[in-house]
Structures are given as structure tokens and as C-alpha cells.
Symmetry: C2
Subunit: 563 residues, 2 copies
């Protein structure tokens, strides 16, 4: 059996190694367009920032090491230029020599990945304008920085790679401005959770130029002008385009393979394309979202690796199935960690799911043990069924742990009510006796029993201030004095029972505290006295962060105001 693999990074390299382990006699040839195989895609921004100091670290394997261990013929700088499914051949060009040739296959695995989206804008292609996807791109950016010591950079786009690059450029002392049309970074977050990210970036001196449309680029001496719609251009010593990626499926399309959304390659759960004996894996394929069941694209290394293994299994006569992706992701942003799994509220609603949510602000570990920090956790679930849909966490230590617990719960089909029962490991340096995930379960159970009703930051400003409802802030006078929502009256929870007569009878009560816990207790007191009560989920902490984000965006960049 002769297997040809197009693309030697995550999915392709995994498929090659697995194939060899399953079949010692197969001929396995990998064509990789770049000069590197099996490289650490996700490490590239850290090489630019000097966190990863040795270039060798980026290339997990070389063609030589792959040959030695796996007898896989890894041909770098070889580009497959055409697939002929009927003949079961591919046309290949050796980029070093220009030579072209044809190779036959019994089985073909496509792992072409995705390439940075290149907007069709004037000036794309000029000097000092970079993209970041391959080792070569990385080396180019790092070399530029070392030679030219840029003092400023504009990043167009704020996805995972973009945000990682922000951090790494900033840590090098470079003045960083981010510009993009969407009003928030990291699309897997809902806007309220992104507010914490924005705050951290602003604190670290990154300028956020959100809601602005880039219209082109122009050389300006040794610098680059980034042309904006309705606004003066930004000028910087370098620009990186990180607008997003597009499945690199020109080959598949030309070969007549069935395509999915955004030109991705259509595969079934065995990673088989529409053409016999052709498999496809990684960023280039369309997958089912594990939660919504909808078709989706996800550029993540975990799924690519799993899919490569599955394709190899099936090529060797197995029956391995890919269960779908749920988009679990995590990113370090300076000292902060941000993680998501499943779908966010925005996506759930777009998918037509009737969803509810809780926010909580637990400590990463027991408050009495030094070093604990607050995280903000948002859990989204389906109304009525309590099906877990997704979670987002922003914080420091322990964020990645809780997202993986929630990812596992979602994968296993646990209901949101079962989160309270999880028997998680506790010791003071690691967690609390009631882990944040348990706490989310307790809160959702309380909702399910009607013990409390919620309102949300987005509802606060619309509440009537005409006396028709009661607005209570149950924090201490000191906390209240430090900042509070307009129209909310201070009545500390511990005084509530004695001062109950101050709460007007017959009117709904909206209660705020710092994180939502004391206001929940206040709601329980009031509800049992016959009041109709609503608890601000996420508390003042979340509300204030969202409001400050909005204010900062408005003050900093007038164009952020465009429709």
C-alpha cells in the first residue's frame, strides 16, 4: 500500500506516524510545501517574543528523524499542484529545483491546513507587512524585529494568534495597536467576558482600536500607514495581518471534491472525502459541532491530531470515528488565562437554542491559602433541559482546569444540574471544598428550583428609575461608596432583616452585590417575605467591567462609534 499525505504538520504528521505503527510495510510519502514538518504551529508567537529561544524547539521532528523512526519519506519544499482522483495520482513540484513529477497513491490524506486570510486591499504585499502561519513567516518577523528594532506595530485582527502576538510584541517593548472591525477580540468569548480581556490588554498598554475598518496599507518611508475608514491612518514600524484563516483547499476544489462552508473539505466522521480513498483532516475540513450539531470550521491543533490518527486507523482497515469538535480552547494573555468550551451565548442563540446562563466569581483555590485569585466563570445551558452548551472562564490560576472539567462534562452529556455532584479533588493550594464547577451546578440547581431569579448586566441600564421598582445594592457602605450603579440604594445584606420595612411592599426588587452571592442571600430573605426579586448575575464586578469596557472603547477611538 502506498499512502501519500499532503501537508506534514499536525494532522498529516500524526497520520504518518500512526500509519507506520499500524502498517510496517506501507510506503508513506509526505509532501510539505514549507521547509519544515511537524512544527509547533502554536508556538510560533512565542518564538517571536523570545519565550521560546531556540528555533530547533519549534520543529518537533525533522524529515531525518521521521525517516529514522518511522520510515516516512517526508519531502519538504514539495508542493502538490494537482490531484487526479480517477487516476489516483498527484502532481508535485519540487520548489527547490522546479522539477515536477507525478506520484501514484493507493490512499491519499489531505492535511493542507489553512492560510492567513489576505484581504483584497490596496497595499497588501508591501514591505513591513507580515502574516504569521508558518515557521518561515515566524523567522521573517523575528529577523525583522532583530534587524530593525521596530518601536510600534499594528495588528489587524484579534483572534488567538493575534492576541498571542500582541502579548509577545508588547513584552519586547513594542508599542502595539490592534485594529479590526469587530468590537471584541477572541470571538469564542461573549462580549461581556471579552471585556475582561480588553481591560487586561489596556492595562498592559495595548491600544484597542475596535470597530474600525481597515481600507488598505501604504508605505510611508520606513514605516507603514494603515488606512482606516472615516479616520486618519495609523502609522507604525510594522504591521501584522492576523485577520483569520481560510481553509487551503484550492487543490481539493480543483480535483472536484465536495466542499463545505468557506470552501472547506467535506468529510464524514471517518474523515473520508467525497472521493474514494481520499481522506482529509485538520484545519481544512468541515466538522460537526459537538454541541449544536451544526457544520463548522475550527482551526485547532487538538482536533487536527485526533483526525490524523482516525484517518490512519481507517486507511488500515479500522473503523475510527470523529465525534465532532466542541471548540475547547485556552490562551495565555500576559498573566491572565482565558478559556472556552462548547458554544457561547451568542452562538447558542444564533443556533436557535433557548438558553440561560450563570456567572460566578470564585477563587482559584481556598481563600485562606495564599495566592488565590478570582476567576469569572460563565456557564451557558439550555432552558428546561439543562443541557450544558458551553462555558467561558477568564482569570488566572486554575482556569484551564475548570474549562477541561466542563469540556469533559459536555462531552459526556452531563446536565448542568449534575455539575454540583462532581467529586473533584480538593486541597487548599488547588481548589475549594466547593469547587467553582460545583458552585456553578449549585447555582443552576437553585434556578431550576425557582429559588432565585436573575437579571444581567445588559438589563441594568434599562431598569426603570421612576420608583416603580426597588433597586438595592446589598454590599457594605464602603464598597457602595467605591462605585455603584445609578439609582441603586445601599442596604447591606446583614442589615436587611432589621431594615426590611425600608423596602417598599408590592414592587419588584432588583438586587446587586459584588459577585452575586450576597445578593442571592438577600433575594432569599426578600422572596420569603413575599417580594418578587431578581439577582444580578455576575454582580457589580461583571457589570462594572462591561461598562468600563464600553466607556474605554468610546473614549479612545471615535471610529469605534461607527455603526
Amino acid at each position: 500500500m502506498k499512502v501519500i499525505i499532503v501537508g506534514g504538520v499536525a494532522g498529516g504528521a500524526t497520520a504518518a506516524a500512526r500509519l507506520r505503527r499500524l502498517d510496517e510495510t506501507a510506503e508513506i510519502v509526505v509532501f510539505e510545501r514549507s521547509g519544515y514538518v511537524s512544527y509547533a504551529n502554536c508556538g510560533l508567537p512565542y518564538y517571536i517574543g523570545g519565550v521560546i529561544t531556540d528555533k530547533e524547539e519549534l520543529t518537533l521532528q525533522t524529515p531525518e528523524s521521521f525517516w529514522q523512526r518511522f520510515r516516512v519519506d517526508m519531502r519538504v519544499r514539495h508542493e502538490v499542484t494537482a490531484i487526479h482522483p480517477a487516476e489516483k495520482t498527484v502532481d508535485v513540484r519540487n520548489l527547490a529545483t522546479g522539477e515536477t513529477f507525478t506520484e501514484s497513491y493507493d490512499k491519499l490524506v489531505l492535511s493542507p491546513g489553512a492560510r492567513p486570510t489576505q484581504p483584497a486591499l490596496p497595499g497588501v504585499g508591501i514591505d513591513r507587512l507580515f502574516t504569521l502561519r508558518t515557521v518561515e513567516d515566524t523567522l521573517k518577523i523575528r529577523e525583522f524585529i532583530e534587524q530593525h528594532h521596530p518601536r510600534s506595530a499594528v495588528l489587524a485582527g484579534g483572534g488567538f494568534i493575534g492576541v498571542e502576538l500582541m502579548e509577545n510584541l508588547r513584552e519586547l517593548g513594542i508599542d502595539v495597536t490592534v485594529v479590526q472591525r469587530p468590537r471584541q477580540l477572541l470571538n469564542p468569548l461573549d462580549a461581556d467576558m471579552a471585556a475582561f480581556l480588553h481591560a487586561k490588554l489596556r492595562q498592559k498598554g495595548v491600544r484597542l482600536h475596535l470597530g474600525c475598518t481597515v481600507e488598505g496599507f501604504a508605505a510611508n518611508g520606513d514605516r507603514v500607514n494603515v488606512l482606516l475608514k472615516n479616520e486618519a491612518p495609523l502609522t507604525a514600524d510594522m504591521v501584522v495581518l492576523a485577520i483569520g484563516v481560510t481553509p487551503d483547499t484550492g487543490l481539493a476544489k480543483a480535483a472536484g471534491l465536495e466542499l463545505g462552508i468557506k470552501g472547506s473539505i467535506l468529510v464524514n466522521d471517518r474523515m473520508e472525502t467525497s472521493a474514494p480513498d481520499i481522506y482529509a483532516v485538520g484545519d481544512a475540513v468541515q466538522v460537526k459541532h459537538f454541541v449544536t450539531g451544526q457544520d463548522t470550521l475550527l482551526s485547532l491543533a487538538g482536533p487536527a491530531n485526533k483526525q490524523g490518527r482516525i484517518a490512519a486507523d481507517n486507511i488500515c482497515g479500522g473503523d475510527s470515528r470523529y465525534p465532532g469538535s466542541q471548540g475547547s480552547s485556552v490562551i495565555k494573555v500576559f498573566d491572565m488565562t482565558i478559556a472556552t468550551t462548547g458554544v457561547n451565548e451568542k452562538t447558542a442563540k444564533q443556533a436557535g437554542i433557548d438558553c440561560d446562563k450563570v456567572y460566578l466569581s470564585p477563587m482559584s483555590h481556598a481563600g485562606y491559602y495564599p495566592g488565590g485569585k478570582v476567576m469569572t466563570l460563565k456557564v451557558v445551558f439550555e432552558k428546561g433541559t439543562y443541557r450544558l452548551l458551553g462555558a467561558q472562564i477568564v482569570g488566572y490560576e486554575g482556569v484551564d482546569k475548570r474549562i477541561d472539567v466542563l469540556a469533559t462534562a459536555i462531552h459526556a452529556g452531563l446536565s448542568a444540574l449534575q455539575l454540583k455532584d462532581l467529586d473533584l479533588a480538593y486541597a487548599p493550594p488547588y481548589s475549594s471544598a466547593k469547587d467553582p464547577v460545583n458552585m456553578a451546578g449549585f447555582m443552576i440547581e437553585n434556578l431550576s428550583h425557582g429559588l432565585v431569579e436573575q437579571f444581567f448586566p445588559e438589563d441594568v441600564d434599562a431598569l426603570p428609575r421612576d420608583g416603580s421598582v426597588t433597586l438595592l445594592d446589598v454590599r457594605t457602605p464602603g464598597e457602595y461608596a467605591d462605585g455603584h450603579a445609578e439609582g441603586f440604594v445601599n442596604l447591606p445584606v446583614d442589615d436587611l432583616r432589621e431594615r426590611l420595612r425600608e423596602v417598599p411592599v408590592g414592587k419588584p426588587v432588583y438586587v446587586i452585590c459584588q459577585s452575586g452571592l450576597r445578593s442571592y442571600i438577600a433575594c432569599r430573605i426578600l422572596a420569603q417575605q413575599g417580594f418578587k426579586c431578581y439577582n444580578l448575575s455576575g454582580g457589580w464586578r461583571l457589570y462594572e467591567t462591561v461598562v468600563r469596557d464600553r466607556t474605554a472603547a468610546q473614549e479612545a477611538w471615535p471610529c469605534g462609534m461607527e455603526k
Copy 2:
């Protein structure tokens, strides 16, 4: 409704707060024998070590704060001396005044906890001999250390509290010796995994005196002699008994409540005892083990808190059920983290479960990102069904995360084969594209497909060295030279295909590498050439650690050799 709660720490305090949130009108009285309520049991060793500096930190709530927020009447230094289920009353003694009185109840919650096992040995009770369970115990030990500056301590017993205390005393510069009859510390670990813990403790200068029986204690001037069977006594400036805990159920027994193992209180999954309107929670109650279904005792804060909440729900007319405990636990040991969930191999076998296991040594995060460290992960599962039974992890960063993912998988009833499918969050600072938990799943799937067969460290010494089997070490010559198992011949995996003729045909081959990965690849090469092959699970790394642990125990302490 009047509710009396006996014991105001984890389970009792949680029940009190939940009761109030559910019922604003109930009269809630808590009797707590010690001077503190709702204190941080798990933080006590860290106060002794000065990690937690402020005593106030240990007491999460005070009677005053509980009254202010919850209108719960917390009476410290009040001991309940008798329960009269027929009359629905309890007798109480005020330990401060000596006054006794009787209180009636509608509902009673028992949360008496467990007390340190006091062996019936000569000398128990002498000066400088301590136990550690309450805030008072903690203050006494810390005060002793501050006043007397002990230079040496003997700890009798090596459970969680014992090991935490070892670390804290050691960090104070005290010479620590641990003595106990069992040959390993931390019973939730299997002996092979405990070897890593022992190695760390020895490295930190803790003397392990395992397999030795303590026969008594005797004052020796300002010091204490610890009398040992078949050996000279140990002498130290202080001794702490941390042999274990016993359910504190004298009250329940005297009241005629049905008891379970070790005198624990029998409850159903609603936390109801055998007597009407009496509930019990926490360390004193017998629980079902979630994995084995067997009755068990577990002294852990997480379950106690959950049970307190459940009892309160049911008292208020709800129907909350406790699903059982799976014993998830985590402990910091100097810079190391050790965690377990479910049952270990030893317990599974005792429960009559036919089990199998895998060991792996993955990095905590991507190898190319700085700071990653190796962890050792053992997953135990049922043969044939691939039901997950338990996991143990010893390592550094990320250990607590993986145990919680595995705990969630076990709770959700995922099979060991499904671990490979979990969509976990990956970025270089947090994990690898194939997370350690995924890797365990891949390995177990390989076993299930017959792609590889395993042997284990405990099998190595018994392998014939008479040429009837082939013993291969497929690491590099350098690694082999640094240390290898007797009789194993070096043949690096990358040379195996070329030197295949050196492997005698017709004999089983046992293959070792460092962690088990290269030997797996070698096994795949050999198996496809017709060899019957066995891969050393855990590799040289695990084998060497187990052997060194055995040697160190033998060399250090002759009495460790007793039968």
C-alpha cells in the same frame, strides 16, 4: 421548625447556611464542642508551617458573622452529651460554665466529624505528644514550636494530614522522621506510585521509617522516645500522632442509631439516619463508593460540604440525593503534586474487579514551551468493559487538572476508550495537542485492539535470564549506559529495522524504553514481523523509581525488613 446541628465545621456549617437560605423562619442552633466554627480544617498544617500567617484566616466564619448573615445560633464550646430520638431532644453541656441543659428539635443534623485515632499504647498523653485535628490542636503545636524551637519531630502515620505536616515541619527546618507500620505513605496510591512520593520526601531530607511498629512513647528529659518493635527507640523533641481518624460517633451509638463500618453512622442517600428526623453528614457517616458500590469511609471536605447541603434540602421538603463518593483527592508535597480519584489497583483487586492499567509519563504542557515537567499517570480500568475505575497522578504543574478531568469522566460513566475523544483546551503553556488524558485513552484503545501487550515493573525481576526470552532496551546507548535493568540488551529503536536479524526468532520479546513510548513503537515493528512482544508500561522511569524506593527502604531501616 427548630433544627439542631451537632458540629459547626464543614458539613454542619454548610447545612446551617443552606437551611437559612431555604427557610427564613426556622430556628437553627449549632452546638460546636471546640471554640471555633466553620474553620479551615484543611488549612491547619499550613498554619503550623507559617504558610498561612494569620490565625483569623483559618476561621472562615465566626459565631457573630454567622448570626449576622444567617441568623444561625452558633454556640461554640457546647458539647452535646446525649441524643434522645424518642423525645426529640439533646442534652448539652456548656464547656465554659459547666452548665447542662436540654434542647428540643424538630430536625437534628449530626456532623460530629472524626477524631484522630489514639492508639492504646503506653505513653499516649505525655507532654510533647500532639494530635492535629482542631484549631486548638493547631495552636498548641504552633505555640510549642515557637516557644521550644524543636529540632526534631517524629510523625506517626503518613496520611494526607501527616504528609502535609511533614512538609510544613521540614520547611521550618525541623528534622522529620516518619514512622508507621504500612510500607507506604498515602494509602490512596498504589505502592508503585507512592515510590515517587517517597523519593521526593527523601530528597527533601525526611526520614522514612516505614514497616515499623510503634509500641509506645516515653518522656526522655525534654524529649520523647518513640518505642519501636524490634528496634532501638527514636528520640525527638516532639511527636505528632497522625495515624488516622475514627468517626466520632459515640453520641449516635448511645442514641441507638444504626452504625456502619468502624462505628460510622449509617445513612441513606438522603443523608437520613435510621432514626426519624435525624440526619448525619461528613466524616462520621458511611458512604457508598461511587466506583465499587461498596460501603466506605472517606474523610474529605468536598463530600462533607455536599452532604450538608443535601441534608438541608431534604429537611426543607426537597429531595436531594448524594450519589456516593469517589475519593478524589489532591495533595501538595513540597514542589510536587499528587492526586487520585476512584479506586487504585490494590482496592479494585480487593473488590474483586478484574482490572488492567496503563502508565504514562507525559509533559504537563508542550515540550517546546518553557517550564513543562513530566508527570506520571496511572489509569486503572476494568478488563473487557473498559469501565474507568480510577487514576493516580504524581508530578508538578497540571496534575490537579488531569485528575479532575478523569474524576469527571468517571462520574459521567465514560469508558476508558472515550478518553481519547475528549476535546480538551490546548495552548502551549497549558497542555499538548494530545493531552495526557487523551494519551491514556489512545494507549488503552491500542490495548483493546491488541496492538500491544504490556508487562509491568513488578514482572521485570521474574523474567527468565536464561535466553528463553529476549530482553530489549530500545533507548539510546547513552541512556542505557546511565542505568538499565539486568539482562536487557541495548538496541535503539531507530536501529531496530536494520538490526532485526539480531533479534532471535521464535522467542517472546520484552521491550523497555524510558517512558514506554519508544518501546511501544519497537513492539509494533516487531509484532508486524511476527514476534510476540511485551511493552514495559511506565518504562525504565517507573521501574527505576520502584527499585530505588525498595533499596532505600531496605538500606535505611533494618526494621523495615520485618515481615
